[in-house]
Symmetry: C2
């Protein structure tokens, strides 16, 4: 399989990818954990999604064809297997412990007290498996005063400064970014952290407990750009990266739409003015050098806005590309689905899901030359793999039946 995302593997389960051989017990819900384990699954890890009997709430977010199989769930759950355990039942907790004895990673986002009650407890699990990496994804670090607060994407965008920055940039009220940006930036921090711990475990045989807080992760995401003057004590000015916050930083209106234009070098600027039909502007002393342009940013951007509006988008896209001036179209979601580059790299793919019919999904972006990632399974129905996973783990048929009878395990339909 030379390319990932090129459809389901015929064998149904042959693992490719750099994480082949890594076993993950994922008890997390919504996006904070599952976005990270979605990448791990596509990169070859055996990700067992352990769900409560009512399933990950993300299953219920519409649209969907059948209950419990919403679009977001379908996207981030490809290549995972679903095992339903009721951790409020003692035998459910025992089953989890038995599985954890042979896992590389356990990931969860319970708060500390419920976690312990449910048997999701590092001290109890490490004895049987010292190489286990045990990751708790939390809203706020447990060593600070917000440690018990619940966290959602909107709230973390507010408290981490993102919503305020959007308001400052637009000169209006604070607003959220219309993406689960906090969930996903923090999920990437989870991904990096668990993989770093797995590198260590692979080299030393020793696992560990780690905690990844969403709030701190987003502040880290924000301050890298925006600490600026406050990186110095005493300060060299206020916090906030001027270029990113500038009202001028926006796509330009064309005669019929918008385009992103970012001339860089002197040559880029000369070409830009020529394409725009105003070659004489390149000799305007306000625009003729990088120093002059920096001093006359407002005049420069005002002039760019005038010029951009003279031509339709298609003209700009074609001419900017020919002149090798950094540019981009402003795409809608529908534009992405029709983008020829994304088609050439096989980014989106359609496949037939056994219960949900024809679906469109996307692949993980990285190309691994030595261990090509290979999509293997469609997103699972609730409990679809409960029996399979337990049999594989060494439970016998009678044990599985007994667990199901006790309500500790539920098999899928």
């Amino acid at each position: 399989m030379a390319r990932s995302g090129s459809g389901t593997d015929a064998a149904g389960a042959a693992a490719g990818g750099p994480l082949a051989g890594i076993r993950v017990l994922d008890l997390s819900t919504i996006q904070l954990g599952p976005f990270a384990t979605g990448l791990m699954a596509e990169w070859g890890a055996d990700v067992i999604k352990i769900e409560a009997p009512d399933g990950d709430p993300v299953r219920k977010i519409p649209p969907m064809r059948h209950a419990g199989m919403g679009s977001m769930f379908l996207g981030v759950s490809r290549d995972k297997r679903s095992l339903v355990l009721d951790l409020t039942v003692a035998e459910g907790r025992e089953t989890l412990a038995r599985l954890a004895a042979d896992a590389d990673l356990l990931l969860h986002n319970f708060r500390p007290r419920p976690a312990k009650k449910l048997g999701v407890d590092y001290e109890a699990l490490r004895a049987a498996n010292p190489r286990l990496v045990f990751c708790t994804a939390v809203g706020y670090g447990s060593d600070g005063r917000y440690g018990d607060r619940g966290a959602y994407d909107d709230l973390i965008q507010g408290i981490s400064g993102v919503a305020g920055l959007v308001g400052r940039h637009l000169g209006g009220d604070p607003r959220y970014v219309p993406l689960a940006m906090a969930d996903k930036a923090a999920s990437f921090m989870v991904l990096g952290s668990v993989l770093a711990a797995l590198v260590h475990a692979s080299r030393t045989g020793r696992g560990q407990a780690i905690e990844v807080p969403m709030f701190e992760s987003l502040v880290h995401f924000v301050v890298t750009d925006h600490l600026t003057g406050r990186a110095f004590e005493p300060p060299l000015g206020e916090a906030g990266y001027v270029r990113q916050l500038s009202a001028h930083r926006k796509p330009f209106r064309t005669a019929d739409g918008h385009v992103c234009i970012l001339p860089f070098s002197d040559a880029n600027w000369r070409h830009f003015f020529a394409i725009a039909g105003a070659p004489e502007d390149a000799d305007d002393p306000r625009f003729a050098s990088v120093g002059a342009r920096t001093e006359n940013t407002s005049a420069l951007y005002t002039r760019m806005e005038e010029l951009a509006a003279r031509h339709p988008t298609a003209y700009w896209l074609a001419e900017l590309e020919k002149a090798d001036i950094p540019f981009a179209p402003v795409n809608s979601l529908e534009d992405l689905l029709a983008d020829p580059h994304l088609a050439e790299v096989g980014f989106f793919a359609e496949e037939d899901h056994p219960s949900e019919g024809r679906l469109r999904s996307w692949r993980a972006p990285t190309r691994f030359g030595g261990t090509p990632a290979a999509h293997r399974r469609p997103a699972p129905r609730l409990g679809e793999h409960s029996v399979e996973v337990l049999l594989e783990a060494g439970f016998d048929g009678e044990e599985v039946d007994a667990l199901i009878a006790k309500g500790a395990v539920r098999a899928g339909d």
Copy 2:
């Protein structure tokens, strides 16, 4: 060392963290690579920042006290060492090859042709080091038609749909998110990808070449939320996650500022109306159940806006916390610097930089229980460690002098 970020280690170089023992040659610039290797460095990797003689351009982004030591550079370069190599000189390329023979990871963001010319060439380097992970961070996947285009944060926000989504959400023109969101989301994809490849290399002894494209990474970031109806074929409606794009999704205005409020359960709503001074609203049939609230979203949010404006922010923050209703303040950058939780977890710290004076920086958010990360060094001056790194790698003093004389290597001031 019980905590990361608690100041510079006395020994100056003792590596803690899960990546201790991993050696990284980082030839990347600005944020796409360096943000990822910043986390790796703080997590214990020995990150050697290999710079051209004029240095990473990010050094020049103000504010700064001294040339080449801008605030953003200072933040993402902590715990890295700087080696200046001129790869246009044959001996510079030979030096790189000799270092790569003993590295775990080489990361760069040159385009394919210049990369090869500069000796940054996987086929040439793998022979001497089969366990090397060689990562190329690119704007667009090299297997698609945009493969040769340059990429910048703004442009990728435009082409990946982010700018259009912001416009759609706000009911206006496309706008960028005022953060290097594309650089950093893609940098996280770089981080996850190289760590996955390092897990594989640790387990098998085999490295590989990998490519991480920024455009595809951002589309992946966007469509996880927003594919929605287009996840199905035929579609179940248009693409776009209604809740995230709703005009109602915003922080609420209070009597003197803003606050994020996200009541969830029926009890949350009852408490919210009580705190707001309108307990009777809890019995309004439009708001009394989750079904009714979903059907009457507009009326509900309009009512919330009216109620939120009745009280000042401090009232809301205190009362929402008491009632355990999910909430958050809307923080400015200055608020973050004064936040008591961040102080308790030691998120920001001050230290004295040998040349730049008193600085404020931040720590990586993850708590590694078994391998606490430890900040070891301040950000390096250009070429500060050129000689040290080469001597450590087995070059002798005469060789180093010869390399400097040839201009292949530059030592710092």
